[in-house]
Subunit: 415 residues, 2 copies
């Protein structure tokens, strides 16, 4: 069995990544799509809008990779230089492209502003490349070839890049290159620190076949275990990985909370949908994050009723029916208030199951008795109520995220 | 005036980035902090857990940079090889470090699981490096020097990396290297596409001093303009950039929605706080995202009352008092329903100003008359109400984000 992987590298161009103004979400998205299509992403490199550095990076990438994908640096403004730089590297000149011009004109039909000279300049493209139309933006995509290798320059605007990748670039690359089967399967494990989990599954890990690799990915109380396999036979690989997952399932049992690499809200959404259960939330310290994550799921109205974000005690009392005296005596961050919020939300929003969160997200508001990171979460379903206290850390954002994850796990436990 | 920048490169190690399982948020955070501290981040490179590729990448980085920062690949499990690889590169061996061992023991005092042999192995460190304790995790930080250059290896776990960077690494690097002043200022402009904005400010841009650079960063209807300056005199640079911003302000006026690079929710939060106004939201299509973003801000209870996420019509009617007949006649996605939701939320949640959103986020649920992306947003404040219809695109996540941004801008307009 000979398996030759097709190596891809991504080069992202733009000062905004290197000064931390934006997070490079494009590369992760591209990595996932390339992987599914059977390509191996070997390196991601981010460099400034600097001609020499761009060329040096490209030359190094071409020594290693079969395909180099550029994103960014092709907007209409002065700071963008990728097009000119590639023109120089490929020793060619910019020429006017009529069909790119028509595409830009078409895009401006629905825009309030008129087309201007900078947009017209976007129709100038390198002479010795193949031009791919950008269906949703004014910057054209350019495809170069050199010694059997492919170099493509795309916009950095995420939806323009994604549109081009899905509709044009990946299908064309799949035609041009023969790729092996790459398969990843992930299970999510709850309740073990990374090192304890590693010991628990050590024997299993040592017996893995040589073409299947294991990786550990800890994240907010959950450890993801990822099995990656490479083969020229898709079915055999699928069977081999599935067998390993079955063995793993025997060892870990209920500690596996999902057999897919999907966010917990999707795990919960699927579960609710399958059981025909409607959920509602009453959120204090999580501030709507649970509702927000659930409603990112298409069709979430099938399992999600709504939410009361009860940031003030007034709302906890008036809408959710929390007892005024209990807040006075026990404080808003207490077991009894969490429980009353959950029961109140379930009744008010007419749901089957309800989540309530109340805690001190921080950075201020903590006391000696209830330091920042103290969070009560209650979930009620039919006659059952599950209420737990958590002690997270000092970081507000992390406390909100961890409380959200914990709430989803409580829902999984109760239904 | 001679300004010599201190160049830094980041190398992130780990398959999870290159198969798109996680987004590399560490690098953006590090980039921002390094920048503030006066260092120039020249390149970010992501590579697999592969010893040869790691060493090649390090050698190339050392040709260009003064400082190389590694993140990732130093966990207790088998797939992590950064420590061993650096050991090999620096031609040294692993030795047991007593203080690292004590640090690991200390961390396990508060953990439910006992320390195990894999954790003990984490106390093995390269002999010829300086060890920096990881105050919040078991993997030590290692600091190597070679020909006046510094190479540091850190954990990939974000809060461990951030803790080490803030408390140890950046202060030590600042002591060891003399850095020039790097200053970035960003304004956020609403209402212009990138190319139209570029033409409007072309004369101003052409007159910028040579040590101040301009960059355009378009994002969900807003274009950020970033001025970056390099100098050996902090005060002179601050004045020069401020003068340019004043000139820009004369040209763009109210189109500038913020003079800082902060998210819109923070712009709105500050404004509400300054005016002593309390906000509430009634969210249908945004599903709690507006509440979520506002409550990521520390102290948001000073300006945010709470929210009703009204995903079902039942909740719109029962809680927010939307007229049943109006939903029947006009549909839930309509001007009149948006307005009633806003007014209902303002009354129910006892706030001064209320935002309501109702629309078709997609991907399904669209009709010929109201396609996916059709969203009504209403904001009411005292006797005023501002209600607008938006036509965004087909992407659910993007529709939620763009509606959220649009809602913040309406609040800015009305108060």
């Amino acid at each position: 069995m000979t398996i030759k992987s097709v190596n891809v590298e991504i080069i992202t161009i733009g000062d905004e990544i290197l000064i931390g103004q934006i997070v490079d979400t494009n590369s992760a998205w591209m990595a996932k799509e390339l992987n599914i299509a059977g390509f191996e992403l070997a390196q991601i490199t981010s460099v400034h809008d600097d001609a020499q550095h761009i060329i040096d990076t490209l030359e190094l990438a071409l020594k290693r990779a079969d395909i180099v994908l550029f994103t960014g640096g092709i907007g209409p403004t002065k700071d963008d230089i990728t097009k000119q730089t590639l023109c120089k590297y490929f020793d060619t000149k910019l020429i006017f492209n009529e069909s790119v011009f028509q595409n830009i004109e078409r895009l401006f039909v629905n825009r309030p502003n008129a087309m201007n000279e900078l947009n017209r300049l976007q129709a100038m493209v390198p002479e010795n490349c193949m031009v791919i139309q950008n269906a949703v933006g004014t910057a054209p995509i350019t495809w170069f070839e050199k010694n059997g290798k492919v170099i493509i320059s795309m916009p950095g605007v995420p939806y323009e890049m994604k549109n081009a990748m899905n509709l044009e670039i990946i299908p064309r690359l799949q035609k041009q290159f023969e790729t092996p089967v790459l398969l990843h399967k992930t299970v999510q494990v709850y309740g073990f620190p990374e090192s304890a989990l590693a010991l628990k599954i050590a024997d299993w890990e040592n017996e893995l076949p040589s073409n299947i690799k294991l990786a550990y990915l800890p994240n907010s109380g959950i450890v993801k275990l990822r099995l990656s396999g490479l083969s020229d036979n898709a079915l055999e690989l699928e069977i081999a990985i599935t067998q390993q997952l079955e063995l793993l399932s025997d060892i870990l049992g209920n500690a596996i909370v999902a057999y897919e690499d999907i966010p917990l809200e999707q795990v919960i959404g699927k579960l609710l949908l399958a059981k025909g259960i409607m959920l509602a939330t009453a959120e204090s310290c999580t501030g709507g994050n649970i509702a927000h994550l659930l409603t990112t799921i298409p069709g979430s109205s099938e399992f999600f009723k709504g939410s009361v974000v009860a940031y003030s005690n007034q709302i906890k009392e008036n809408l959710l029916g929390v007892n005024h005296e209990d807040i006075e005596n026990e404080g808003a961050v207490s077991k009894i208030v969490a429980e009353q919020m959950a029961m109140g939300a379930r009744k008010l929003l007419k749901s089957d199951v309800a989540i309530a969160t109340t805690g001190i997200a921080g950075p201020t508001g903590g006391t000696a008795e209830k330091p920042v990171g103290t969070i009560w979460i209650s979930v009620c379903y039919e006659e059952k109520t599950l209420t737990k206290i958590y002690h997270f850390g000092a970081n507000r954002e992390q406390n909100i995220q961890r409380a959200t994850q914990a709430a989803f796990l409580l829902v999984k436990e109760i239904i």
